[in-house]
Symmetry: C2
């Protein structure tokens, strides 16, 4: 069994979480991403949505079509539509929770307690793991603050450290805070499942976005402390602590190449690749400390070389020389990247009037096969199926619940995500 | 049991991973962060380092002191120093692996197979979980490429989507790729532990940095697809899909405030807070779609208000109005932030001639107490202790291994991390 064979897609067997049921009350990214990762590990994930659908089931502002990102985060789950504000809806949720292993929620502070309650759900099922995602956690002075990816980027130093010394603080393009939160929340759920395998008991786990992003600032915080605050907070595309050089994006004839040399031997290889062998022994560049002190000159030397070549040429030459480098790819190039396709991280699907994209999982387990291709659930598509299967409700009961507005069964519901063609009906961007 | 009481620091009981042993071969961030999270869950984490120490045990370029970030990533672990290139050292490692539950490695492609081998380590212990972190994974066309946080940011679209439409691609200040990788690798290890609790068997799990960062681009990829590529890749501090407005950082008298309004009701609250109630019914601003179409005007209106006030004043008024907002904090403000302190995410320690900082864990489990305050292990500090405890080696054997250069016991070793005072001896920045 070699490394290259272990993760082949034809691996047989059960998933790591086969038999585990997850109720996903998540919204937007943090909760839904956690539930997505659990689904890809083999869990049965039931997305429990309000009658109007999760807020991210909304049409795009410009074209009014369904948002692709909803599908990216939710394909492979089942959708149950339930009004938690209705006492009967809440009761149904608690009965579902009694049959489940995990409940995930990332409502605004106070909302879950108002709708359901931590005690109520854990009393309903002592083996249950309740996973709460929030902006700042349930303790500390910020615990009541509303938070989104942007505001936590502002609060946590992500923005302060992103951008150029002479420019303004910059948010990251990707939603790194939300997804860092979701990945950590997944780890917390799984740790509680490990603990349950010993104790037989569930528990409440929580992850705060603010806590989850802080460790990623280790080199910024470390650099600040090591230099007594005497280096800029933002260093552009240079190393955060200005400790490594070369380390930057360098202009090429047709774009940019990211290049760094951690060790002197890499620098020597780079000098040879640039056909500047005389620089290897130059005291201004010979050691890491010398290059850090001559950072402007190093960058000028490297860019003088890259700017006469195409990005592909630079990458080919430097990869062959064993130097860490990469093209700065456009979003279009990433979406069509052969590595992304090979790893199944992004897949296009279409059938009849719908088309959608799905995400793969970064979690690769040699003995836990990835689930098969998955669809994006329509709102309430599985309400009847799940309530019949788990609570043994009969057709007449299901119809009565629907008629009273306690549940939504997809076929009845006019709002929300119904596939591309029907979304023009909906204007919920600001509901 | 209410939400605010669950996570008190005096929670009693065993950790979720009490009794689990982890061998951490990790370097820099991805592997060491994974091991750190497992340590904070109660695992016994043994950091296995070469005789010269992990590459991040190196002095800072400017001052020559130990790097704070090494302590941030490794406090609470034990350090065993072992030469894996020596056949006896490799044999000792395999014997240790036979007593362990998890091995973590994030060497460059091919290195682990050359030093140890996937088969060898899993043969030595069929219950072992081997966790491999890498840049691009063990499959696909990029599988052999060297990767660092910077180069994966370039390759994955993180840089393409960060920055301003009229500016160049920007790397994020924090090492979001490395830590996203580490958080996912932790989830993969825990999923395999869950699976082992059913099957009794270990397995090989892997996480690629490139896979781990891709989901965080969901809204950029979705926005690109939804708009047929007709919006800029980089939108500065505005919403990535230009779907939400206001959504930006706005200049104040003394800094910046991040503000966003997802719904019309938030916009209405903002108009009242700005004492501009007439804007609520203005057709140019009334709906989300209208505001997205008038994004420049919306931003001008909001900044006209924020720029006459201090950041604190803006945040106080808008928080009271229930609007998601945050100050753009400097790194110094983050390090001294009361919420960071209250959550224990960053702690300062000093004793005798050493001082160090430690990270808390974003994973909060109500029934799994956080470990006590922890120290940064000196290189090889626990070599003798661990080998005596796990392999029952005797003093004479330990001395012979040290004498032959198979192991390092800390007191003998002259290189690497020995606390601040001794580091001036070392010049390993480019070893």
């Amino acid at each position: 069994m070699g490394v290259t064979e272990v993760f082949a897609t034809d691996t047989l067997g059960q998933g790591a979480l086969t038999g585990i049921t997850v109720l996903d009350l998540g919204q937007a990214f943090m909760g839904p991403y956690c539930a997505l990762l659990l689904q890809r590990l083999g869990a049965d994930v039931i997305k429990v949505e309000p009658l109007k659908g999760e807020p991210y089931r909304r049409p795009t502002v410009r074209k009014g079509t369904e948002m692709m990102q909803f599908g990216l985060l939710n394909a492979g789950k089942r959708s149950v539509s339930l009004d938690l504000k209705n006492p009967e809806g809440r009761e149904l949720f608690l009965r579902l929770a009694a049959t489940a292993d995990v409940v995930i929620q990332n409502f605004a502070p106070g909302t879950f307690d108002r709708l359901i309650g931590v005690d109520a759900v854990l009393d309903a099922n002592p083996r249950l793991i309740l996973a709460s995602g929030s902006g700042y956690g349930s303790t500390g002075p910020y615990r009541s603050l509303r938070a989104m990816d942007l505001t936590v980027q502002a609060m946590s130093g992500v923005m302060a450290t992103t951008g150029f010394p002479d420019g303004i603080p910059v948010r990251t393009g990707p939603s790194v805070v939300d997804f860092m939160g979701g990945a950590h929340l997944t780890a917390a759920v799984l740790a509680a499942l490990v603990q349950r395998s010993v104790t037989g008991k569930g528990q409440h786990v929580e992850v705060a976005l603010y806590d989850a992003i802080l460790p990623s600032l280790a080199s910024n915080i470390g650099g600040y402390l090591d230099n007594d605050g005497a280096i800029p907070e933002r260093t552009g595309n240079r190393h955060g602590g200005l400790e490594v050089s070369p380390y930057n994006s360098y202009k090429t004839q047709d774009g940019w190449a990211a290049i760094l040399c951690l060790h002197d031997r890499h620098w020597a290889s780079l000098c040879r690749a640039m056909e500047r062998p005389e620089l290897i022994e130059d005291p201004a560049f010979k050691t890491g400390r010398a290059r850090a002190a001559s950072i402007d000159r190093v960058d000028a030397v490297v860019e003088a070389w890259t700017s006469t070549r195409t990005t592909d040429d630079v990458i080919m030459v430097l990869s062959d020389a064993g130097i860490a480098c990469a093209p700065v790819k456009s979003l279009r190039e990433v979406i069509t990247d052969p590595q992304v396709a090979e790893r199944g991280m992004l897949r296009y699907h279409s059938r009849e009037d719908r088309d959608w994209w799905t995400l793969g999982s970064p979690l690769r387990l040699s003995d836990s096969p990835a689930p098969e291709e998955s669809e994006v659930p329509r709102l309430g598509e599985h309400t009847a199926e799940v309530l019949a299967e788990r609570l043994l409700l009969e057709r007449s009961e299901l119809e009565a619940l629907d008629a009273c507005g306690v549940t939504g069964t997809g076929t009845e519901v006019k709002d929300g995500y119904h596939g591309r063609s029907s979304l023009a009906l909906v204007d919920t961007a600001d509901s």
